[in-house]
Amino acid sequence: MYQIHVQGLTKSYRIAERQPGMVGAVKSLFHRTYRDVDALRGIDFDISRGEMVGYIGPNGAGKSTTIKILAGILVPTGGRCVVNGVVPWQSRISYVAQIGVVFGQRTQLWWDLPVVESFELLREIYKVPNNRFKTSLAELVELLDLSPLLDTPVRQLSLGQRVKCDIASALLHEPQILFLDEPTIGLDAVTKASVRGFIKEINRNRDVTVLLTTHDLGDIEALCRRVIVINDGICLSDSSIDELRNQYVHEKHVVIEFGNSPCLESIHQDDVLKSEGTRITFLCTSDISDFVAQMTSRYEIKDITIETPPIERVVTELYESSK
């Protein structure tokens, strides 16, 4: 039984076209022309309880649209979507009580209120019983190191502090599912690391299902075993990061440290990328185990490193190939 089930999800927007100039402005007063834009063109995926899934794609791919549909605040044009056994947009109030959502770019907190009062207000809104609220808050405060921030008005927080508080606020009511829309956007390296660590922890401690959109693939590598790639409203890939690498990148760099200067006649010179004395970097496009076996049988070898290409390149290639 999947916790999130999405099948054939489509969404198209109707956009009024504006004509330029004064004449156009007057014209569109009486007659408007519309254009349909397909944001989602049939998305399928299933997510089980406790999974942590990355959802990536270039700008305008349909990430936010998907998150909004899953969060119950946008109605799709077609397809099925069942979360926790209910259709998100059909019973908004009971549904949103079970989920937590963080939009990294926008705060959910009250600008002028001290953080702790925002939390108090959320307790009231979500009708969280007092004792459960206390334990939940204590856990979050400790994990995120929030205690020095609690009495600060939200507007005085730095971006990193604000994002931490935002994430905490989305978890106060102990939701089973957490949607994170670009949670690390604009954060410095240290804050990013602590936010990632926290997400990991909360996923483990509370068995929270996490769906995370991001442009920072470091988030994905640090957090998600599974990653869904979409572009132009369709799924390009749904697999683990390693599979993704293997599937889409057929070349690897193999760095071999030879015991003595090797005689390389039997090796294609084209495959040598770099040669620094006894340390040579090869480009391997065929089966990697064959290649390594071949080398070890022929030469005395001190060390072998297989370098995988950075995930950024994999994803770029994937986006490009889908055009």
């Binding site: 109605v75 959910q108 207000l121």
Partner: protein
């Protein structure tokens, strides 16, 4: 229900505390409201001074109409500020998503956004004028008159609140269409400062049947004043007319829900 009240009080407390941080400007704004919304009185007074009574209506009668509509509007306006600023503060910025993500009714959450207390300025000037009218008229109060007055206030509150919700609903489609509503909101308040019977038929019909402001602000007040209505309304009608305000409010809620559905299906 208990949870709702508790949350509402919390919203209220937060807003009030925020305003008390800037006590100086609160006093200034309240005074500004008192003054700018009160200057119309000078005009009314001057016209009565120059022309004498308007048929059955004396200055004191008009003072009661004027005072009651201003008081009721000030209260409704204070508690519906979230709807008044809805288009610019919620739809344009996308912050309405935040409201939708919370497990409470949208109307309730929007209502709790802000309570601008400086509007007490309008309330106070209305109350002052109202009291003047009541004192001069020296009415013999009966239970029915009290009842009518209460009904009038309830009717007006819901009517104005409904107007604000209508205005907010429009902004789901266009955030620049709001000024259209000013005719009904401020135009309505202004029109009802005088008894409806002095206006032309078409205007009166509009504010009775289309926008039922007359039903809440004129007919019951006529009953309170104990004047024979030049428009011929009877006691029963005066009692029932304020219900139009509640009906209007319900209609606005219905439209609001339609607007929310539109919003969630277009994601605009």
């Amino acid at each position: 229900m208990k949870a709702a009240i508790s949350l509402f009080m919390k919203y209220l407390a937060i807003s009030v505390r925020g305003q008390m941080q800037y006590r100086g400007s609160f006093v200034l704004y309240a005074f500004g409201q008192f003054f700018t919304t009160g200057i119309e009185v000078l005009g009314i007074w001057a016209l009565f001074d120059r022309f004498g009574n308007l048929g059955v209506w004396t200055l004191a009668h008009v003072a009661v109409f004027y005072g009651s509509v201003n008081m009721a509007f000030a209260v409704a306006d204070t508690f519906s500020r979230g709807f008044d600023s809805f288009g610019s503060a919620m739809v344009k910025t996308g912050d309405f998503d935040r409201i939708l993500l919370r497990p409470r009714s949208t109307v309730f959450q929007i209502a709790g956004q802000d309570f601008p207390l400086h509007r007490i300025g309008r309330f106070l000037q209305g109350a002052l004028v109202f009291v003047y009218g009541i004192v001069v008229l020296d009415l013999d109060w009966t239970a029915i008159q009290f009842c009518l007055l209460l009904l009038a206030f309830i009717g007006m509150f819901f009517f104005f609140y409904g107007l604000m919700i209508f205005q907010a609903t429009l902004s789901f489609w266009s955030t620049e269409s709001l000024e259209v509503m000013n005719v009904f909101v401020y135009g309505g308040v202004e029109a009802c400062q005088y008894p409806l019977s002095i206006y032309r038929d078409w205007f009166r019909s509009f504010f009775t049947y289309v926008i039922p402001l007359g039903c809440v602000a004129y007919f019951p007040i006529v009953g309170v004043l104990g004047v024979d209505d030049p428009l011929g309304s009877g006691r029963i009608f005066q009692m029932l007319a304020p219900l139009a305000g509640i009906a209007f409010f319900s209609l606005s809620l219905f439209c609001w829900n339609f607007g929310v559905r539109h919003y969630t299906s277009t994601g605009s």
